[in-house]
Each structure stands twice: as structure tokens, then as C-alpha cells.
Symmetry: C2
DNA sequence: TATATCCGGAACTCGACAGTACCGTATAGA
DNA sequence: TCTATACGGTACTGTCGAGTTCCGGATATA
């Protein structure tokens, strides 16, 4: 019968594509994106950084926008493990425990990538969705759990808007880094927790 | 003697440059910048929008970066009048009074301009300074006065960090608009005031 | 072993844009 | 009135980068 090759997606011949290189190329894309921004980034830069040929890139992604979209979408990897979130017993303790060098470094790179694609976001709903999913949502998810636990244990009133609380931290960080160009250090982050987030959550200042 | 024409900056001859067109050209630049972003913007677009010749632009600004820098720097015009700030007697009243359609419209355009140049800011200290001065500082200045008055009248403790308080509102707005792509409406702004800014300022929830 | 596809790399095409030059016209000072 | 410059507009130049094509070599199927 040979009834359509729906079940045989690749009865191909010859050397097979080495998909172990995909992550390396996407990482290179993110690096260049973070360093030069979307328009400053060239395919040659990415290929050189990944030690790959330009043709190799075009065999896998049909265009520059597709490559960037995929790179951003595949970024959700090195993320906070939602199963192993700190559980110190207090909201403040949990929030501070989330400030760890690896998390900060990860967030810094994400911010630079975000800066590089902000102007595209307004013009590409797909990229906007990918950025949302990969850059914004993971952090919000971690915060959400921590706040939810605080509500459950009665530490903060359940009248609070958890979705709003989740965005305060990221918003302050993004604004300081991208708009003000000031460093995001531990002192700043703790100040945010103590003077903005916890008051907004309804925690009495100690 | 003819001792240097230091005192004669323009003993020129012929038709004079029509400087009344400068603001129109800079406005056109900001419009295109807001719509397409820095890299998407072309000098031809700006010239067409301003109904000017490209040569006219290059007679006044030596390059695209110079033009954009000047346009951003000259943006502080349609700003909140610091002399005529609302004075309702309460911090909440003052903050809400600052939410007016003209202010919102102004802020939206500034946000789009900001989005268009964010990726350049990291690479151009001059542009970063101009954006800081024209887009960030005016709003912070208005907030600063309002908070200062609240401290002076004893409505909020003078232990608060006014500089930090000033950035909360802009940060939440920028994050919502640029990162989340959600609308910045009156409801959102009032929610920010009541659930984030006032608690951070140490105002007891009514 | 033959063939088809992969690889990194280099050379190429093609379109877009920054910046320049020039047109005919308008306007200021000598 | 003459001259030098500005104006809006168009055409040109030079560069740069996206995307394509081809190379010699590697590798998997038949």
C-alpha cells in the first residue's frame, strides 16, 4: 500500500543532521543577542561563535527571526527548580533565599536578552509570547509559590493580589538595570523585599 | 587685525536656516522612533514625515545617532509642570491627581520611544544620559515633590527612602507595558498606588 | 562501494540604508 | 541685482548583512 509516508517522517538517505549542535547554536545566538541586540546581531557572528557554518544554521532555521524566536523559547532551561524552592518558614526568608549568585547571573543574562529584543516585541506577537514564557513566567512562577505558601500559613492576608505581588520584584529589577543602568546587587534586592514587597504583601515591619 | 572671528559666530551670507523647523523634525524623529525602533527608523522616513529634504536633516545633524540623541534630549518639553503639581492634602490624592489622560498619553509615547532605544542605551552612554534626563528624571521629580510634602506634613515617616519610592510607579508601568505587553489603564495605576506604593510609603491602609 | 546528505567554510547575489551630490527654487545680505 | 546659502526632492555611492551556492571532506544507508 505505502499509504502516505505520514508514519515515515524521515526515510532519508545520507549523513544525518547532528542535533547535538542545536543547543550550542542557540546558546551562541543568545550570547550575541545579549551583547549586541537583535539588529546588531548577524548570522555570521552566531555561526562564528558556535564554530559552525552559516549554511548549517540555515539548514535548521529558515531565517534570522526564526532562529531568535527558537533561541528565546528554548531559554527556559537553566531555571529555578520549582520542586526545590527554599522553604524557610517565613516569606522574607524564602524571598531572600531566592537571591543566590546563580539566580542573579541567570537573571542578568535574561535582562540583556530582553533588552536586545524589547523593540521587536511590539511588532512580533510570537516573539512576545516566547519572551513572556521563557523570561517572565518562570520567575513569576517561583514567586507565586512562595507567596501562596505565605497565604496558606496565614502570614499574609489572603486578600492580597498574588499576581500583582509577583511582578513587583522583576519590575523593579528590570527598571533599574535597563532604564537606570544601575547595578542590581544583593543590597538593592534586599531593600526591595523589605521596603516594597513585604509592605505590599501586608507584612508588619519587624 | 581681524583678530579671529570668535566674536562673530555667523557673519554668513545668503538665505538663513529656518530654525523653526527643528522642533518639527525632532518630533517626526520621535514619532518614527516610537513606531519602528532605532534600527527600523530610516532618515528617509523622518524626512518624509517632517516634509523635509534629507539634505536639510544632514545640514543640521551630522548623523543618525546625533539626530536621535538630540530628539531624545529635547523631549522633556510636554512635561508635568512642577510648579503646578496637585496639592490635595493627602499623598493618595496627589498621586491619583497625577493620573490624567494627558500624562498617560505622554507616558505611553515615552515608553515606546524608550523601547525603541533600550538596546542602544547599553552601548551609548550619551544616549543613556539623555534618556535618563528626558524620560526618567521628570517623572521622578514630580513624584519626589509629592512624597517630600507627605513627609513634611507627617503623613509618612521620614525614614522612608524617597528615591526608591519614586521609582516604583515608573518601574511597574514600564514592566507591564514593555515586558508584559498589557495595557496601562487607570485601574492598574490606582491599584499600584493603593497596594504597592502607599504600603511601601508606610501609609496605613484605610 | 556508490550515493545522498551532512559538516565548516568561503564566495557570491541582492536589497536596504547612511550619507553625498546635485537639481531648480526661494530668500537673505551686499 | 548679484551672490551665497537654504529649501524640498531626486539620484547616486558605498557598505553591510540576509540569504544562497558551492567547495572538499565526513558519514550514514543501500
Amino acid at each position: 500500500m505505502e499509504q502516505a509516508d505520514l508514519a515515515e517522517p524521515k526515510p532519508r538517505l545520507g549523513r544525518k543532521r547532528d542535533h547535538t549542535r542545536d543547543p550550542e547554536i542557540l546558546e551562541a545566538t543568545l550570547d550575541v543577542l545579549a551583547e549586541t541586540g537583535y539588529d546588531g546581531m548577524t548570522i555570521d557572528m552566531v555561526a562564528a561563535r558556535a564554530k559552525a557554518g552559516k549554511a548549517t544554521l540555515y539548514r535548521r532555521w529558515s531565517s534570522k527571526p526564526e532562529l531568535v524566536l527558537d533561541a528565546v523559547a528554548c531559554m527556559k532551561s537553566s531555571e529555578i527548580d520549582l520542586e526545590a524552592l527554599p522553604d524557610t518558614g517565613t516569606l522574607r526568608g524564602d524571598l531572600i533565599a531566592l537571591i543566590k549568585p546563580p539566580n542573579i547571573r541567570d537573571a542578568e543574562r535574561k535582562l540583556r536578552v530582553m533588552a536586545g529584543i524589547v523593540s521587536m516585541i511590539a511588532r512580533s506577537p510570537e516573539l512576545a509570547a516566547a519572551a513572556q514564557e521563557a523570561l517572565v513566567e518562570p520567575r513569576a512562577a517561583a514567586n507565586r509559590i512562595v507567596f501562596r505558601r505565605a497565604v496558606d500559613r496565614g502570614e499574609i492576608p489572603d486578600s492580597v493580589d498574588i499576581e500583582q505581588l509577583c511582578t513587583i520584584g522583576p519590575a523593579l529589577v528590570a527598571y533599574r538595570a535597563l532604564m537606570l543602568g544601575k547595578p542590581v546587587n544583593r543590597e538593592f534586592l534586599i531593600g526591595n523585599i523589605d521596603h516594597v514587597i513585604l509592605p505590599a504583601a501586608g507584612v508588619r515591619p519587624a
